[in-house]
Subunit: 434 residues, 2 copies
Amino acid sequence: MKTIENKKIRIALLGLGTVGGGVYEVLGGLESELPDKIGAKLEIGKILVRDLTKAGRNVKDPSVLTNDWNSILKDPTIDIVVEVMGGMEPAKTYILQALQSGKNVVTANKDLLAAYGKEILNAAEEAGKDLLFEAAVAGGIPIIRPLKQCLLGNHITEVMGIVNGTTNFILSKMTSEGMEFQEALALATRLGYAEADPTADIEGLDAARKVAILASIAFHSRVVFDDVYTEGITKITATDIRYAREMGCDIKLLGVARDTPEGIEARVHPMLIPSSHPLASVQDSFNAVFLHGDAVDDAMFYGRGAGKLPTASAVVGDILECARNILWSCTGRIACSCYREIPVKKMEDIRSRYFLRMQVEDRYGVLASVASVFGNNCVSIEKIVQKDRWETTAELVVITDPVKERHLRDSLAVFEGMSIIKEISSVIRVYGDK
Amino acid sequence: MKTIENKKIRIALLGLGTVGGGVYEVLGGLESELPDKIGAKLEIGKILVRDLTKAGRNVKDPSVLTNDWNSILKDPTIDIVVEVMGGMEPAKTYILQALQSGKNVVTANKDLLAAYGKEILNAAEEAGKDLLFEAAVAGGIPIIRPLKQCLLGNHITEVMGIVNGTTNFILSKMTSEGMEFQEALALATRLGYAEADPTADIEGLDAARKVAILASIAFHSRVVFDDVYTEGITKITATDIRYAREMGCDIKLLGVARDTPEGIEARVHPMLIPSSHPLASVQDSFNAVFLHGDAVDDAMFYGRGAGKLPTASAVVGDILECARNILWSCTGRIACSCYREIPVKKMEDIRSRYFLRMQVEDRYGVLASVASVFGNNCVSIEKIVQKDRWETTAELVVITDPVKERHLRDSLAVFEGMSIIKEISSVIRVYGDK
């Protein structure tokens, strides 16, 4: 290992919350090994916090704490700014200013990157500095670097991920214990897997941000948060899961990104996937990203998608990589990889198979009526099964062939006005073309 | 993307067999995108083959073919030598000569690296050149770069892998269809998953080479092929697998590397793992590497461990990485990462749980005799179950607590001399400490 004149790389942490505290802890535990690992020492020169007194209890040397961003920005000895404060502002301003003043940046901020990735990566490229963000997608799981480097020889056609631990925990509990959604959410909240306001998780917004970032990198074309169709898991019931299991499937909240001849698909929604699919075995709060490339075929990356130390693992990996790049004068070597401009398809134009559960009047001819509505709206049916019946109601489960979302919606609109259709209980997409 | 003066990176392929042909094909399909992907064009300048005529049928421009290594070595325009010929010699000599003459090297050669990794990586470091080998372990699955870069902030304590597709295919068939070993091997041979001489696969030698490489990188201490205890799958029976399933386990051929306070464990052998473990769901010829780090917690990397295009995916990823390093003048940036020297434990000193299947005389007192032999040899028993009995024979299944291998072997030696023990049918290790 080439050691460069006892050089010391100095970093500034922006934020000392869960992730920042994890980074501080992991770097502390590596101190003696860093010269062997990267050829230099590494020092936390400054930490930006709001409350100096509170933060003082969590660091060995409180003199590194500051609440003045400018004291970091103007400090020419700071080589790397590590943004782990989260949120849009002031994180965005700080990152852009850091890059413009010649500092490298490591960030875990998926919200920011999913909305302003282009602007931020362009700023990094202009400055010739690193902007690394492995922690922004799937926490500790290495996925950004594998995509940008190891798999660069592939044309990636599909990326599918379980990229939100909260919803995967909820669906796992609904599956293994037969819980309903509200009960499983309450358990997740009690155990600390769900936040006080769980909206961003259960409505799929958090996952959508990660899909935007993954799609941009996998397909070399910018996809932003607003491009991603998003549907959460609040309407999934224990019955849906039980029926799915009977069909050899599990229900997962999946982020799906596909590169098709008609454009990029980018969406987050619950989906039935075969229980034999590698993603189906991802349990509890674990995450996984599955992808398909023309050379590598299928591959999957599995691990902890959140949490103090797993996220710190990814941030510290980026810090060490950036430090090496500084020592070898090759920062900015791997910049924005979006060199194409492919349109993102509208959800109405995307083809899926669908699982529908509907309550209908229990009398002759109803099934034929249902089938003919689908037929009139270009929705081809794989099968219709009559499940439970009670009093005057029968429950139908319908699996469609792959059909355009707009045709499915047209069918649903017709059902709305039909008295024999008492309720459309569930509409869930099904994985695969068969 | 910074493009450097229309620079063209020139590579030489050593070998045009399965992997070489795959690399040729994948690079061909990328030609128009390479300036966008890495900032330069890439050209296959020379291909070393044995039979010029035969190889001529497989390339667009036969003038690049040569059977003279020196014409490559002495060609100053060749920047990267891609060794995909396999085997020990002349691959080793060619790689060392290439490095010494200032060329970078990409190789897929696990046999060579598992035996001479230190010598080869030292030569690369002295030359300040890249020696990249992502394809040497688990084919297309990105695992070397994630370990050396993304997870560098971790202290990795365990790496476990299904790193041989042939044996995983055989065990999968034995599990799903109840086949015996010979029948499953015959099927694997018929389908092209097993070579004509399957020894290196079914005896675990191929997996052992990958374990040596993985352990060296994960624990920063050199482990070579000869350090790895190796046991194949030829003795596994359909009965073993059936009994394992009854206990909620699958049997897999696992490469296991652990960093313990007493030293490094490096071994390949069949193992019972809980069916809920992520590795248990790896089916057919797929590979996966599971690891545990102090920050990242559990992580797993899954995909195709062999095959023309998946292996080419990894080789081409390395070529593109190396090309970028050449353009940025930072070759040799990530060199040998073994900076510690930790002893490798002897197999006799390693603690495992064991599954034993034994045929004993069916009469009073036998179970007590068996139990007392274990007791006298420091082997603590978790449970003994009597399974089938027929005529004068009873079958016992024993699960031990974690015990030192030497104590288990001592017990087996005693059983050898006891007339009431008719046969020790199976001795298989069991995952976990509980």
